[in-house]
């Protein structure tokens, strides 16, 4: 495994047997799992205290322990909102009524003692891969900057432009009114993503799509009122953008369902932007035209 540049993942091993702690740690250290940091706890109470200081990515816990059991520890973690911490059990517990409680609280695996090294490694590898994926942050709403660049180029043709990433831009950074597009995956009722062009981006993409000279585009930018021709071109751009939205492999195609000019920002849109389960934010600069902003938000 390539370990360069990987931040160490933190593994908290919770077991009232130091011997089991030693076995689990030895098995994980001997495998090529990338950089790992370990912390050990003898019971659920100690583990819960360590969660704040150690901030584990993965907790591997026994079930039957003094003071606070493994299940109680898991339930407490969820109750205090620590849903991101992955928890797996290595236990003698086999009762289905207990194990279903663990699963319903989000336990990612249950391995019975005595376990085979390869069984533990398989589960931990999957958990750590998922942790590393989560550490990268959500996937962007668009496939790539290159795809967006190609799409804009097809819109603007020979007009030069510069696409500048604008991560973290807020709704207030986009000049009103906004051209708001809603995208839906085929066969789905819930929206897949939103696309927003601020008024400047509408003027720029609209003017470029219509191959206008700079003066009418600058006029529209300054007045904040794009022409109908510009809006038609801006809508066409948003329709084409459906083809470069990020989607899961094998998932149905996504199309533009509706596009509306929004005169005022609304709270729901702001909260969707802030939730950030996948965004692509850019500034679009065209010499002679000006600069506009756009955002695509995965829902």
């Amino acid at each position: 495994m390539q370990t360069a540049n990987l931040a160490p993942l933190r593994v908290l091993i919770v077991d009232d047997s130091r011997a089991i702690q030693a076995i689990i740690q030895r098995v994980l250290q001997a495998a090529s799992l990338g950089p790992l940091q370990f912390e050990l706890a003898m019971d659920g109470e100690q583990a819960l205290r360590l969660v704040t200081s150690f901030e584990p990515d993965l907790v591997i816990s026994d079930w039957h322990m003094p003071k606070v059991s493994g299940l109680e520890m898991l339930q407490t973690l969820r109750q205090i909102g620590r849903h991101e911490i992955k928890v797996g059990f290595v236990t003698t517990e086999t009762g289905e009524r207990h194990l279903s409680q663990a699963r319903s609280n989000g336990a990612i695996f249950v391995i019975n003692k005595p376990f085979k090294d390869e069984d533990l490694l398989r589960e931990v590898q999957a958990a750590l891969a998922s942790c590393r994926e989560a550490a990268k942050g959500p996937a962007p709403a668009l496939e790539s900057a290159e795809a967006l660049n190609r799409l804009i180029k097809s819109q603007m043709r020979e007009i030069p432009f510069r696409l500048i990433p604008a991560p973290g831009q807020g709704l207030n950074d986009l000049k009103l009114p906004h051209n708001l597009a809603m995208y839906v995956a085929e066969g789905q009722k819930t929206p897949h993503a939103l696309g927003i062009l601020d008024v400047n981006a509408c003027c720029i993409l609209g003017g470029g799509g219509a191959q206008l000279q700079p003066p009418p585009v600058r006029l529209a930018l300054n007045s904040g009122v794009p022409t109908p021709e510009m809006m038609t071109q801006a809508d066409l751009f948003l329709r084409s953008a459906a083809g470069i939205l990020t989607r899961e492999p094998g998932s149905p195609p996504v199309t533009l369902k509706v596009v509306n000019l929004v005169a005022k920002p609304f709270d729901k849109l702001r909260s969707l932007m802030e939730r950030d389960i996948g965004r692509s934010d850019y500034r679009l600069s065209v010499p002679g035209y000006g600069e506009g902003r756009m955002a695509f938000i995965r829902l």
């Binding site: 047997s17 011997a19 009762g95 005595p114």
Partner: protein, 165 residues
């Protein structure tokens, strides 16, 4: 109870922890403890009471000194001379825990049973504990092997004398 399954699970537990094979067999009487044997017990409660002070059954484990050393050395990954008495006790208690999960099969109805926590048992108390309650299972290492291991399950459902403080 499927005795064959339990025997197989016991052997698998020992070999899984130590890397050494070991066959168990049913026995008629528990062994008499020797001076350097280690003993452990683990209460099994049921969720009707759910209190560890009201066990329904007990698992008892007796292990020879050589077996204690071999087990702890394998589990801690250390040579025997580097092991402390606490290491031996920790490994023995965990073996008792793991064997107990297999022996729960020997209860009439284990669907409500909960494993308690393993704890060391004073060697002097072994004879008393092994002769109280109703013996449900007793397995020792086969006589053709040099190991000294015995594990038993005794049903003490109606025996208040095992209540712990």
């Amino acid at each position: 109870m499927h005795e064959g399954v339990v025997l197989s699970n016991l052997a698998r537990a020992w070999s899984g922890l130590t890397g050494q094979s070991c066959a168990f067999a049913p026995a008629a009487e528990p062994p008499t403890p020797q001076a350097d044997d280690a003993c452990f017990m683990l209460p099994i409660t049921d969720c009707v009471t759910g209190f560890s002070s009201h066990p329904r059954a007990l698992v008892l484990l007796l292990m020879g000194a050589a077996e204690s050393q071999a087990l702890a050395a394998a589990m801690f990954g250390l040579p025997p001379e580097q092991l402390s008495p606490a290491d031996l006790q920790d490994a023995g208690a965990e073996l008792c825990n793991i064997l107990s999960a297999s022996l729960m099969e020997c209860l009439d109805d284990a669907s409500l049973a909960n494993l308690g926590l393993p704890q060391p048992l004073d060697r002097q108390q072994w004879p008393e504990y092994t002769h109280r309650g109703e013996r449900r299972a007793l397995f020792v290492v086969s006589s053709d092997q040099p190991r000294r291991l015995a594990v038993m399950l005794t049903d003490i459902h109606r025996d208040g004398s095992f209540c712990r403080e």
